[in-house]
């Protein structure tokens, strides 16, 4: 078993572990554990399946299909040599003191997008947090992790994971926010998507690069989901529920299609983005440990660990940049590497002239 598991790339090396050898592949294991986890959580939360909202079962099926796509995409992505290294070392460095701050900046406040422009930050904040809010409300409802009961007239009891969390007046503020959480998130997403669409129509830079399938379709999907969701509220409030069933099916389909698409297109950055925290930790940790000095000018330009990792990854891709001058190109700082190339073109050792590169930044 141990021999075959080494050759089988999908099975990880810890496969003496009986749990790992029970599964044919990493994919099968992830799928099994996640779906089992969902079922067990639902079993507990719905008090042995007595409070399942079967109106939402389409979303359950959609979620399982989404998980299959997600694990397929994520695992094949994680098998790439550079990704594998980053995930492995990132997990090891997860408990650094700066992780929390980095995570908040990268995943919650999007500070780096602020630096790309306030308009882009606003639209991303609206879309991002609108979606997160919607997900935090929808999936607990779908799997019965959260539901409402009314034991006493006029008071709702919020039940989370099978436990009565609090009883709130049905016309109170908490109840109001609970009923309208999805309406609020829909308005956030619609506002954000409209800003994004406006930018894509007006901004010459965006217009130069965008394509319909990659850049517009995810926006239209989100817009469709949000509008059909809001229409459900509209139908209930203003049309006495006329057309509710048709619209709820349309909404359900739109959500499921978006979910299935999510791991493959532009929206895939949602589940993959946390790796940027790994990358920051990786650079900070190994940067403190030891820095690599440029073989030509002696400037410290990258951590020794990262330099070695990159050389290693390139080696796995049959890319070797060992020079006759006795160094690997990844061991030169960037200006020296560029000057070294000029020296290869001209025959004169430009990189050995101790002068800083000048006039390289044109002001646009």
């Amino acid at each position: 078993m141990e021999n075959t598991s080494v050759k089988e790339p999908m099975v990880h090396t810890g496969s003496t572990n009986p749990v790992n050898s029970a599964f044919a592949s990493h994919f099968a294991k992830s799928m099994f554990l996640t779906v089992s986890g969902l079922v067990i959580l639902s079993f507990v939360a719905t008090r042995m399946f007595t409070h399942v909202d079967l109106n939402l079962y389409g979303y359950m099926v959609g979620t399982v299909v989404f998980l299959a796509g997600f694990f397929y995409r994520f695992i094949s992505w994680g098998e790439r040599p550079p990704t594998k290294i980053l995930i492995k070392k990132g997990l090891k460095l997860l408990f650094r003191r700066s992780t929390l701050k980095t995570s908040v900046e990268h995943l919650a406040t999007y500070r780096f997008i602020w630096n790309r422009g306030v308009y882009r930050w606003t639209q991303h904040l609206l879309i991002g947090w609108g979606c997160v809010l919607a997900i935090l409300v929808t999936f607990p409802l779908v799997f019965g992790w959260m539901y409402f009961t009314m034991e006493e007239s006029g008071y709702y009891t919020i039940v989370a994971l099978g436990m009565n969390v609090m009883t709130v007046p049905a016309d109170g503020i908490i109840a109001f926010l609970s009923y309208n959480a999805l309406n609020i998130s829909a308005i956030m997403v619609i506002a954000g998507v409209c800003m994004a669409l406006y930018r894509r129509l007006k901004n010459m830079q965006a217009r130069a690069e965008q394509t319909f399938m990659y850049d517009f379709m995810p926006l239209y999907l989100l817009l469709f989901v949000s509008i059909t969701g809001l229409l459900l509220t509209f139908i209930n409030v203003f049309l006495h529920g006329n057309g509710h069933y048709v619209m709820s099916l349309i909404h359900q389909y739109s959500v499921i299609v978006t979910l299935i698409y999510l791991p493959f297109g532009k929206l895939a950055h949602i589940p993959f983005r946390p790796v940027s925290v790994f990358a920051r930790n990786y650079r900070e940790h190994y940067g403190k440990e030891s820095m690599k000095e440029c073989k030509v000018c002696g400037t410290e330009f990258v951590s020794t660990e990262q330099s070695n990792d990159v050389i290693n990854v390139l080696g796995q891709n049959d890319l070797e940049f060992d020079m006759k001058d006795g160094f690997n190109l990844a061991e030169l700082c960037l200006p020296c590497r560029r000057k070294y190339r000029i020296s290869k073109f001209s025959g004169f050792a430009t990189h050995e002239v101790p002068i800083k590169e000048a006039n390289q930044d044109a002001k646009g």
Partner: protein, 187 residues
């Protein structure tokens, strides 16, 4: 449609840095240039040479990217990092054998020459080649590059387009300076 390539005749460069200025004006470049112009022997003479992404057929930057943020266009251009995918690890800057990718710490984003893909995908020359006043940067068909090769072919293996002086096959073709080849320049 004829497929043309960027072609560099390095010794023509007069160091005017028009290519840098033009680069800033390309759609998607956010007013920042992604190419370089170097003094070959700065303390002795004024010879300069441009350096830009050579758009490797097997790009080290994309191979080293953990996020698959560096995509290769069907024309062969190696594109700048996708803004939503780039995780800011800077592997690409370490991997590139020519030191081309730039990194913006504030935006946590790598950016590099994308061969002005909005132009070159329709066979319009990239900004740098459009403005180059000295024919250092040219936008040529395969036949024109072949013709140049024959004109300079000295039969002594001195002509090179990309190999063996580069680290791998590239989509941008380069010729070595005619001075080194012992020929007189024919513009």
């Amino acid at each position: 449609m004829t497929k043309r390539r960027l072609f560099l005749e390095l010794e023509n460069c007069i160091g005017c840095r028009s290519c840098l200025a033009a680069c800033t004006q390309c759609g998607g470049h956010e007013q920042r240039n992604r190419n370089y112009v170097y003094d070959v022997n700065p303390l002795v003479n004024r010879q300069t040479m441009p350096l830009m992404c050579l758009h490797c057929v097997d790009p080290a930057c994309a191979r080293s990217c953990p996020a698959q943020a560096i995509q290769i266009h069907e024309t062969g251009a190696v594109l700048s990092a996708l803004t939503e995918k780039c995780i800011g690890c800077q592997n690409c800057t370490i991997a590139c054998p020519y030191g081309i990718p730039k990194f913006d710490e504030e935006q946590n984003l790598m950016y590099k020459c994308d061969l002005c893909i909005d132009r070159t995908k329709d066979d319009i020359p990239p900004m740098c080649a459009s403005v180059c006043p000295s024919n250092t940067l040219q936008w040529l068909t395969e036949e024109e590059i072949e013709e140049k090769q024959q004109r300079h072919d000295l039969g002594n293996d001195k002509w090179v387009t990309s190999m063996p002086y580069l680290e791998g096959e590239t989509n941008v073709k380069i010729n070595l300076p005619g001075i080194l080849e012992g020929t007189t320049k024919l513009f």
